[in-house]
């Protein structure tokens, strides 16, 4: 592997900007239905690296709005697809990056998201009713960014999330589901946003999370799994939210992430020497941001947006 060296920021920027333009690649055809999430991963990474101006803001905002479904109030993953909360959050997050929430019919979108809450407090992802704690987080995060949390039953939403807590202090996708770092991020994030972190057993969960650090310095998502760059984000952000991030070895983790870079062509992969993709590029840079890596903007662990963007939204809130 050799020396991991430094973050190849310029190469990553180039990788993202050119990936955005490769609309005709086979990969982009397969990814067609989740272009909006891809846009969020790529653009947030650019912003973290102080390079958001490398893309044309107006073009991006126009394209985002062409994925909007005025009848439902939700966003689709791409033009002509069906709306889903996953892409609704991505759309709202990208508009936050560009400080353009003004283009939205905020109440219409908030009603769409709030309408997906079930009686037991859980959330479905779309009209077809798939329930998962991921959607609890997505809905709560979206509504909070839009200053519309009051449109849902927060108490019930929290109750449902707490019902997914396990003996190891972690959380699963539904009651009884195995603890998984991605689901833990969603549950802890939703509890953080709603001011309900007192439901988390911080020391117990903190120990489970710091046990995710493997000998190679990377973090895994469940016991006996391999380390993967994307868990740098899920695990670290959760540890920060419960104030236990000092329990892991940050230096070793940073080295693991830097070792997964393609230093020539840009991009970050899931593990050293694998092929890079935009998803892991985002999670790698975001993980480094959470560890205050020099030259990378600090990130908010709950909203998954740069801290200055989140501050802009909540400090300005006067409505």
């Amino acid at each position: 592997m050799g020396e991991p060296g430094e973050l190849a920021a310029d190469e990553h920027v180039r990788y993202i900007v050119t990936a955005e333009k490769k609309k005709d690649s086979f990969e982009s055809l397969v990814m067609e239905h989740l272009r909006l999430s891809g846009a969020y991963w790529g653009l947030t990474t650019l912003d973290l690296l102080h390079k958001l101006q490398a893309v044309d803001a107006r073009e991006v905002v126009d394209w985002i709005m062409s994925c909007y479904h005025p009848e439902s109030g939700g966003f689709a993953g791409n033009v002509g697809h069906d709306p889903h909360v996953l892409y609704t959050l991505s759309a709202v997050q990208v508009l936050c990056l560009f400080d353009r929430l003004d283009v939205l019919d905020v109440d219409k979108i908030a009603d769409y998201v709030a309408g997906l809450q079930k009686e037991d407090g859980s959330f479905a992802g779309d009209i077809w009713g798939e329930v998962d704690t991921r959607f609890s987080y997505i809905s709560i995060c979206t509504l909070s960014l839009l200053h519309r949390l009051h449109k849902i039953n927060v108490e019930k939403a929290v109750e449902y999330i707490v019902s997914c807590k396990n003996l190891d202090g972690g959380f699963g996708a539904m009651p009884g589901g195995e603890s998984h770092a991605g689901q833990i991020f969603c549950c802890v994030g939703a509890l953080a946003i709603t001011g309900s972190l007192h439901h988390v057993d911080r020391d117990l969960l903190g120990w489970w999370l710091c046990e995710r650090q493997c000998r190679d310095g990377g973090l895994n998502g469940r016991p006996e799994k391999l380390a993967d760059v994307c868990y740098s984000w899920w695990v670290l952000s959760s540890l920060i939210m419960i104030d236990r991030v000092h329990w892991i070895d940050k230096e070793k983790l940073a080295k693991f992430i830097l070792n997964c870079q393609d230093k020539e062509n840009g991009g970050i992969s899931d593990r050293p020497d694998n092929a890079v993709d935009i998803y892991h590029t985002y999670f790698g840079v975001a993980g480094l941001s959470l560890m205050e890596y020099p030259g990378v903007k600090p990130m908010d662990p709950a909203y998954a947006l740069p801290l200055d963007v989140v501050n802009r939204i909540f400090l300005r809130k006067q409505q």
């Binding site: 609309k23 005709d24 086979f26 055809l29 397969v30 067609e32 239905h33 989740l34 394209w63 062409s66 689709a76 993953g77 791409n78 033009v79 002509g80 697809h81 069906d82 889903h84 779309d126 077809w128 009713g129 798939e130 396990n166 003996l167 190891d168 699963g172 996708a173 539904m174 009884g176 589901g177 195995e178 603890s179 998984h180 903190g206 120990w207 489970w208 710091c210 046990e211 650090q213 000998r215 469940r222 016991p223 006996e224 799994k225 000092h246 329990w247 892991i248 070895d249 070793k252």
Partner: protein, 332 residues
């Protein structure tokens, strides 16, 4: 769904939609992505053409057998496209199709795409419509998928949902036994075991099961002490109760036995320090074992045993030294 192409792969030659007589009246609709330079790869062009025809039928809202057939073809190209699945459900509802046949269709897709959210959601949607009669065949299916990847989160979620919504608990504990026999490190199987002993309507709940579960878990730990899952499971059996695990000799005994063979086993040391913090009075044998460990600082032997164990952990788990240092501060 007996139309010309797509579903019966292999035997028939694939005919591009633009050359099929049954689609002559459909005007394909391209993805509105802005200008794109075309570099030709033939598979990709087929894919694009199928999607263009799909979009045409979708935007016309056509609920017909050929629309159903076409969603199948689009799914074969890209099973991750949720819009195609949505549309397929609308067509299925409108046509009043045989849902068992549909389950066979989605099972085939799931087998080659075991980690696809849409596929599993479609299965759940179908199972919900089919009701309790579907429970056994669904359990059989997840069993098959878990035989390939015993930690597939989607398969586990589906299995748990079927258990709770449609039933079929009868052999679930035995299934957990089997999986743990195959791989005692399988955390998903330990998690499932916890669900079964706490939620199965046939077993009487956690308190009734605790005694035999402690024996089972201790045995699993003795076979493989460096396995995180059973240690956590053992603690979970007492669910926050401080008195019971301290009073149950089997718990401190398993720590002692493991540490005699493997003095740096983090999970044994960790549970031991938990027990000491909760009020365990250490036996002379336990004290002697700890004090004779090579990582045990001779200067700490006069301080309390919990602190001594913590300082051993600081040495043998350097990656988490901050955690153990913090833990040590909670002891005074």
């Amino acid at each position: 769904m007996g139309s010309s192409s797509g579903e019966e792969e292999g035997t028939n030659k694939w005919v591009p939609p633009s050359q099929r007589p049954e689609l002559a009246d459909v005007v394909p609709v391209g993805q509105d992505d802005g200008p794109c330079p075309v570099v030709s790869i033939s598979y990709r062009d087929d894919f694009r053409e199928v999607m263009d025809y799909f979009r045409a039928l979708y935007s016309a809202g056509e609920r017909s057998p050929r629309a159903l057939h076409f969603t199948a073809e689009a799914i074969h190209f890209n099973p991750g496209n949720y819009t195609v699945w949505h549309f397929r459900r609308l067509v299925l509802e409108a046509l009043d199709t045989d849902l068992l046949q549909e389950m066979n269709f989605v099972d085939q897709i799931a087998e080659s795409n075991p980690k696809n959210y849409q596929v599993w959601h479609h299965k759940r949607w179908l199972a919900e419509k089919l009701g309790p009669d579907a429970a056994n065949s669904e359990h059989e299916f997840t069993r098959k998928m878990l035989a390939i990847d015993a930690k597939n989160y989607h398969a586990w979620s589906h299995r748990q949902w079927v258990l709770q919504a449609l039933g079929g608990w009868e052999s679930e504990l035995q299934y957990c036994n089997q999986l743990l026999e195959e791989d005692v490190f399988n955390n998903s199987a330990w998690n499932q075991r916890y669900l079964v002993i706490t939620s199965s309507p046939l077993l009487g709940g956690l308190v009734a099961m605790r005694d035999s579960e402690v024996d089972y878990t201790v045995e699993a730990i003795m076979a493989n002490p460096r396995n995180e899952s059973p240690w956590r499971y053992l603690k979970g059996l007492y669910k926050g109760d401080n008195y019971l695990p301290v009073a149950d000799r089997r718990i401190s005994d398993v720590c002692l036995k493991v540490l005699k063979d493997d003095s740096t086993c983090i999970f044994a040391l960790s549970l031991l320090v938990d027990l000491l913090r909760m009020g365990l009075q250490p036996s002379d044998e336990l004290k002697g074992t700890i004090e004779s460990m090579e990582n045990c600082d001779p200067e700490t032997s006069h301080v309390d045993l919990a602190t001594a164990v913590c300082s051993i952990l600081q040495k043998c788990d350097p990656l988490r030294i901050s955690y153990w240092s913090w833990y040590r501060t909670t002891l005074s």
